[in-house]
């Protein structure tokens, strides 16, 4: 560090270890803003590690749960988890940390942990875990996590981006309709693509690393057929045209259909123009019905019609002449006119009768204009069209021969179709180049061929055919020759629309033509392609058109996947399992007609086949979770990895494994050197010490109270005597079921005495629902509230049973809303009632009614909470001159707090003398100590006279601890402060932070048994003392014990029972001593209540009468109505 840093008032803590957490908690209490980051997503799960269990056996996450929840609720603490720390750099203001916030695809402020999404999720990672899951309901933050990996290859490779894994997962779960819906989101022609798609997805399927790729296409076909077979709908959700714009699509091939469907779904009115009498384009006239039956096409067209698309058939649109006219009638025009002119080989004899361009040939056959053929038919080419031509010809009595210039294995046609063609008697003559057609009288008779041999492989690895010499030429007799060597564009360059030399429409990257509001897609732009590619292209143009028309909002949100999260490794125990074979009609029979050859997969086959999917992306993005989440709306599939730069004045590294290494004296490191034994108490002390150092580094930035003040509790809004009861019942998103009679009961409750509002809410812990409760309370003047949710008490303290949801709801209800905690009767409906609905709904209803009845009854009897007022001094006294005490004093001095150092030895370091806020009192000898937090009295002997010094907090050195008596109760003997730490099997030691004592506000500079340096121990004590000083009004906690003075006999049993010095005794006018409770110190455990002989001590919240009534009610000895 060359120059001192001008540190920002913020601390970054990396690593949610016990040390990191304790540091965050103390800094949070000190009001210093904190950013807490870790790679783990769940504090609770992380802190449950066995090596971090406390010596009492209690796991850290349980013991410190209240602190963890306070961290979440503290507005100045920002928790970033899971996060990846990319880089850490020094900056003039401290540190600059670049981190990636990993998406978990859930909004933690909304998730209710109801578990509906988990129920719905079809992806099982293993037997116990779905793709969406949570550790426990105690998770912090309390939200589910979605395990999403990078995009599965099948989806990546699909031109349409169909969520293959998603529909396979749904299929496996038997949710066929949902699966089909998911396909249709991206592919409106599932029945067609399920038959004729070139399925690039299967080519990349990772399953083939293991055995064979999954039969994705066949599953798609099954889903589409299944819908028809089981009488399901083949219509989409009717889409209302929400937009005024009208769009014309010219051409009803795959590109046009896909574009039209999308545009309709965006809300436009769409008209599709088709020159033929029936829509479908190449799908109808280019593919044989034995592959794609006509009714399949009709069905898909019906579906598209149901989306609101109008088809205008028999209407030839000339893309050049008619454009202007169309533009007048429509707001945008999409040209998806295909490239339906066959390319001809350009060899002699093409004009002969008997020489056919393939598409024309097929159209004539499929439109039944040709009904029979002569035997000798040659097909030139090796693509799917060539096969189609051959198979169609075979069905009309021909014996077709395919003449192909490469090897058979190089044919681009689908291997399955080649096989089927061969079965049907089609011959393939490979390595044959046709060089001319020969005929007589204008009629084809022979085809002249020259053999070829495989030459150098081209870019795709396929050998280029090298033609032999003219001398090798031979002739073959054919009556018909079909040229199936591809298609070319139909358009000629003219004015208006810009067209390429190949006759294809020219567009920009996003498929706009040179004419405004005219778009083009499909083969007309790209040249011949596959069905899916054409469709994908069509959709792209639709998207561009929609964007240009200002309809960006109508575009569906696209779920995001983290690009850098790898697929799970294929488990070694996945058994080998081949693809299923598909039933087909026998060749001898099928070649006699045009009926479909393939019979498709059976349902059991599909079940098994979908089970073969390796679920590469884990979460399949089927979005069933979002649907199950419903109104809660907490699922965020669109979340992306956010990279952010956090600036802070101080950096605390608690977990070195997750941070890139950084040098520097001012980096605070709170982890044990490698190889040392994990001691959780030592970790905590290191955490405190880190907070202390952070506090010192940010010296004087924070305002510290000085002198002394009366800290009065925030005035509780008084309980208005008029009872206007509001009843709010949370059904937890119906996640555990619901009984309609419960609604009926709540409905009836509206008419009950004193009830002004009764309502069942779907999820009370949602921000807007909580706000609604607050609003209703105000609007209806509700003075007493029954809150039936998962919250078990409305009190202002966090107990280890609290959850993120509970505390969130309480926070929303009581923070600055004017609703008093004393107005609210809370009952744990979820735990007591909803839980059992699934097993016994009658019992659940019965319990519900009882619970609601007694809650309503109790709400009417609510009492106002007490308001403890206390005297606070803001000076800390440090007693003792050991090394640890020195560091305590020093830390507090640097942080700008008022300190008196008593019994300070003579050898005071020079640096310390400069602090004006430090008073050193060498000669003072401390006689005894009394009082508690805020109000300690220290009896001192100095220079021969005795005096009392007051302090708000006290730090005792180790020698001082053993020699100075603490007097808790005036008139009774004192004790020496115990430094024991809770240990399994040992009675009588309350739960305390290391360094803290059972006396609130009293800390030990050098607690024995904690293996860290004296310097760190001293610093830790300093931060404990600093954090305990009140920074705002103390609120009533509501559960503190009260003692009835008239009943108290002064036996003193409570005094002995209380571990926190909350009870003191004073003499009354009868001359006897009675107890009083300091509400600020009482923790509400009630141990004093059980030893009180007269019942003078009782809790105002859940008192003896409450417990007795509770017993009576749960034991069923009480009328339902009472």
């Amino acid at each position: 560090m060359k120059r001192p840093k001008d540190r920002l008032h913020r601390v970054i803590i990396i690593g949610m270890t016990p040390a990191g957490i304790t540091a965050a908690n103390k800094l949070g209490e000190l009001g210093i803003p904190v950013t807490l980051a870790d790679t783990d997503p769940d504090m609770d799960a992380k802190l449950a590690r066995p090596e971090w269990h406390l010596p009492s056996g209690v796991p850290f996450n349980h013991a410190h749960r209240p602190g963890l929840i306070r961290i979440l609720r503290n507005p100045s603490i920002q928790c970033i988890m899971p996060a990846e720390i990319v880089s850490v750099k020094h900056s003039p203001q401290g540190f600059r940390v670049r981190l990636k916030k990993r998406p978990v695809f859930v909004d933690p402020d909304r998730c209710t942990l109801c578990g509906n999404c988990i129920q719905a999720c079809p992806v099982s990672v293993d037997s116990s875990r779905k793709a969406v899951a949570f550790e426990t309901r105690r998770s912090l933050p309390g939200r589910v996590l979605i395990d999403k990996r990078k995009s599965p290859l099948c989806q990546e490779e699909c031109p349409l981006g169909v969520n293959v894994q998603g529909y396979l997962a749904l299929t496996r779960a038997g949710k066929y309709a949902e699966a089909l819906d998911l396909i249709r989101q991206d592919n409106v022609l599932p029945g067609i693509c399920g038959r004729v798609c070139t399925h690039p997805c299967e080519a990349v399927c990772r399953r083939s690393d293991l055995d064979e790729s999954v039969s994705i296409r066949d599953i798609k076909r099954f889903l589409a057929d299944h819908e028809v077979n089981c009488g399901g709908r083949s219509s989409g959700d009717p889409v209302q045209a929400t937009k005024k714009e009208k769009i014309a699509v010219v051409g009803s091939g795959p590109a046009g259909l896909a574009a039209a469907a999308d545009l309709a779904r965006y809300g436009f009115s769409v008209s599709v123009f088709e020159k033929e009498n029936q829509a479908g384009g190449l799908l109808r006239y280019g593919i044989g019905p034995y592959r794609l039956p006509g009714d399949v096409l009709e069905r898909e067209l019906d579906y598209i019609r149901s989306l609101g698309v109008a088809f205008i058939t028999g209407s030839l649109i000339d893309p050049v002449k008619d454009i202007e006219d169309l533009k007048k009638r429509f707001d945008a025009v999409l040209l998806t006119i295909g490239s339906c002119r066959d390319r001809m080989p350009g060899i002699p004899g093409e004009e002969l009768e008997g020489v056919w361009p393939c598409l024309k040939f097929l159209r004539r056959i499929f439109s039944e204009e040709i009904k029979s053929l002569p035997a000798k038919v040659a097909i030139i080419g090796g693509g799917n069209s060539a096969i189609d031509a051959a198979r169609a010809a075979a069905r009309l009595g021909a014996e077709p021969t395919i003449l192909y210039r490469r090897r058979q294995q190089d044919m681009p046609a689908d291997a399955g179709e080649i096989r089927q063609a061969l079965e049907e008697g089609v011959k393939i003559q490979e390595l044959t180049q046709v060089v001319s057609f020969c005929g007589r009288n204008g009629k084809l008779e022979q085809v002249k061929c020259i053999p070829t041999r495989p030459g150098k492989p081209d870019s795709r690895g396929i050998p280029q055919p090298v033609m032999g010499s003219e001398s090798e030429a031979f002739f073959q007799d054919f009556d018909i020759a079909v040229a199936a060597i591809g298609q070319i564009g139909t358009l000629a360059a003219g004015k208006g629309l810009e067209v390429s030399a190949e006759g294809l429409i020219m567009t920009d990257d996003v498929l706009r033509t040179n004419i405004s509001r005219v778009y083009a897609a499909g083969d007309a732009v790209s040249g011949p392609s596959s069905v899916v590619e054409a469709m994908a292209n069509g959709r792209s143009s639709a998207r561009t058109a929609a964007m240009d028309l200002g309809a960006a909002d109508a575009l569906p949100l696209i779920p995001a996947r983290p690009k850098d999260r790898p697929f799970p490794v294929i488990a070694a125990d996945v058994p080998f399992h081949a693809r299923p074979t598909i039933a087909e009609r026998q060749a001898a029979v099928r070649k006699k007609d045009f009926l479909e050859v393939s019979l498709g997969l059976s349902e059991p086959q599909v079940k098994e086949e979908s089970g073969r999917c390796l679920q590469c992306g884990v979460c399949s993005q089927c979005l069933l979770c979002a649907e199950a989440c419903g109104e809660v709306n907490a699922i965020r599939h669109q979340q992306v990895c956010e990279e952010s730069v956090e600036q802070a004045g101080v950096l605390i590294i608690a977990d070195p494994h997750i941070v890139p290494s950084i040098k520097g004296d001012d980096v605070i490191r709170v982890y044990a050197p490698p190889g040392t034994r994990t001691d959780v108490n030592a970790m905590m002390v290191r955490g405190f010490a880190a907070a202390a150092r952070a506090m010192s580094l940010l010296e004087n930035v924070a305002h510290r109270p000085r002198g002394h003040a009366m800290a009065i509790s925030q005035p509780e809004p008084a309980l208005i005597s008029e009872i206007r009861l509001g009843v709010f019942v949370c059904r937890c998103n119906r996640s555990m079921g619901w009984v309609d009679d419960m609604d009926t009961y709540i409905e009836a409750l509206k008419h009950a005495e004193d009830v002004v509002h009764a309502e069942v809410l779907n999820a009370a812990c949602l921000p807007e629902t909580t706000a609604y409760i607050v609003k209703t309370v105000m609007q209806k003047g509700i003075t007493r509230l029954v809150l039936a949710s998962c919250v078990c008490c409305p009190l202002n303290f966090v107990c280890s049973a609290c959850t993120d949801q509970r505390s969130r709801l309480k926070h929303g209800l009581f923070s600055g809303t004017g609703i008093s905690r004393s107005m609210v009767e809370a009952c744990n409906l979820r735990g007591e009632v909803l839980r059992i609905i699934a097993d016994d709904s009658e019992l659940a209803l019965n319990r519900f009614i009882r619970l609601m009845n007694r809650s309503v009854k109790r709400a009417k009897r609510l009492k106002v909470f007490s308001m403890p007022a206390r005297n606070y001094h803001f000076t800390t006294a440090v007693i003792g001159d050991c090394e640890a005490s020195l560091h305590s004093a020093w830390t507090l001095a640097r942080a700008g707090m008022d300190i008196v150092w008593l019994e300070a030895g003579a050898n005071l370091p020079r640096q310390l003398q400069d602090y004006p806020n430090l008073t050193r009192w060498e000669q003072a000898s401390v006689m005894e100590l009394s009082g508690t937090l805020g109000d300690f009295r220290i009896r001192i002997q100095a220079e021969g006279s005795e005096q009392i010094m007051q302090a708000g907090a006290v730090i005792l050195g180790e020698r001082a601890r053993k020699t100075i008596q603490y007097i808790h109760q005036e008139g009774l003997p004192g004790i020496y402060i115990d430094a024991a730490i809770q240990e399994s099997g040992q009675h009588g030691i309350p739960f305390l932070y290391p360094g803290a004592t059972a006396i609130p506000g009293l800390y030990l500079a050098d607690p024995p048994g904690v293996q860290v340096s004296k310097r760190q121990k001293g610093e830790a004590a300093a931060v404990l003392a600093a954090a305990v000083m009140p920074r705002g009004p103390r609120q009533s906690k509501g559960f503190t014990v009260q003692v009835d003075e008239n009943l108290c006999r002064g036996c003193g049993r409570c005094l002995q029972a209380c571990p926190y010095q909350a009870i003191t005794m004073k003499r009354n006018e009868l001359g006897i001593w009675t107890s009083t409770v300091d509400a600020a110190l009482c923790k509400g455990c009630g141990n004093c209540i059980s030893v009180c002989p007269t019942g003078a001590a009782d809790s105002p919240y859940r008192n003896q009468a409450y417990l007795e009534q509770m017993l009576e009610e749960v034991l069923g000895n009480s009328e339902l109505t009472d």
């Binding site: 009492s56 056996g57 209690v58 796991p59 349980h62 426990t136 309901r137 105690r138 280890s800 049973a801 735990g831 839980r835 016994d840 109760q969 009774l972 809770q982 009675h987 009588g988 030691i989 309350p990 739960f991 559960f1039 003075e1045 008239n1046 009943l1047 108290c1048 006999r1049 002064g1050 036996c1051 003193g1052 049993r1053 029972a1057 571990p1059 926190y1060 003499r1067 009868l1070 006897i1072 009675t1074 923790k1083 509400g1084 455990c1085 009630g1086 141990n1087 209540i1089 059980s1090 030893v1091 002989p1093 007269t1094 019942g1095 003078a1096 809790s1099 859940r1102 417990l1107 509770m1110 017993l1111 009576e1112 749960v1114 034991l1115 000895n1117 009480s1118």
Partner: protein, 511 residues
Amino acid sequence: MAFQTLQDRREKIPSEIKMVRIPCTGRISKALLVKAFEKGADGVALVGCRTGACRYGSGTLTAQENTDDARRILKIMGVGEQRLRLATFLPDDAEGLFEFLKTFSQEIRTLGKSPVEVSEKSATKAIDVQQVARAVSKYDIFSCQDCGKCSSACPLSLTGKSFTPRAVASAMIAGDIDSPMVIEGIWSCLTCGRCYERCPRAVNFPEFVREVREIYQDAGIKAHEPHGGFFQSMMRVQGSASLNMDRWSWLPESVHLNMKSKILFFGGCAPYFDIFFRKFLGTQTLNILLDSLRLLNFFDVQPAVLSNERCCGHDLLWTGDEKGFRKLAVLNAEAIHASGAEQVVTACPECYRTLAVDYPRHGIETKFKVIHLYDFLNREIEKGAVGFKPIDAHLTFQDPCRLLQEEELKLLPRKLIGHLKPRSFREISESETGPICCGGCAWNGCDAYVKAMQVNRLKQARVSGRDMLVTACPKCQIHLKCAMEDPFLGQALSMDVKDLTSLIAQSIYWA
């Protein structure tokens, strides 16, 4: 925490398990444990944190002690100690808890229904004005002359408590039956009978109070019951007919009993008291029973005892629970009749008064004669064949109210003390107030004023070096010891407390 995990996991927690959430096991008093049985539980598990993991340090230990005590009491009462369990877990041990709940509920299912009969809760009604009026006339409250002698004798009034029999009487006559002052007064009265003794018109104020308490109970106006109502609960539990009690198994073999004897010894509640007050007072009321039996043996009587002896019902009667009292009385009377005993000896003033006076008064047939042990001892000692060892103490004596109310018995304790050989004996107070109640009679009305009264009493007792307080009722011993427990005044109040029966048993010998 662990239970919550089970709830969250929707584990099939046995449906008979009903959960009451508590802040800490140490919060749960013995009273609440026993009340659960009174209210119909077949088994009770107190579930909390494992030793060393109690957030408040002492909760688990307190719970252990309370559970142990309550178990011992349940055993004596014949409810069965197995029905109450303390189970502790670490917060992450949901499996352990689940296993325990399943096992425990299986165990309870094997044990079957609890023998405790749940008394039907009668619907609470408004105070029956007619009934109050009848009581006013029955006890001739009208004849009060408003002279104030009662108030100047009432030990509570004397401490400064705003209660006087006179004021309550006047209010009742005026029909003010439910003002806080009257209600507080009715429940505060110690029923010691000092007022009755002084009243020139002999208005039996204690009996009147008792009857009004019955009316109050019916109207749901409850007493403030000290000890969380433990004793009332315990007694109501004993009202169940099918208990198989274990009252006497603790007796040493040196005590000789004869179950066919025509003389039956009725022990009273001492066994429960000693367990209940074990931790704090070191109460030794059980010795009264043991010493009584030894004295009977000493005079060659081998009495019978009732293994199913219930509480006599005194405390329920004086808390206004007449129904509860009646159940106990009927069960006891039947048991005594079945034993064939003709004489019932008891050392407890309350048992004596209840069996001898209140059973017949409430129409319970008693075909036996009730004798106080002191009566028996006095007659035997006066035969003259016994001597007494010297007692190295300066004695004073605390009168039990229930003996004072019986003319023929009230002088007996002093007669017996007269036989003893202490260093000296002096009455507690020379003043005119006379004997004062120990401050607790039917486990109600204990408060700061009662304490102040006891403190004064003990201070007076300590005057001029008296160092042993002789008592004749277990409750006097309990309550005065409790007063001595004061952390501040304890030094000034502390003295030996010995029951008269024990003192006699320890010093008597055949001359």
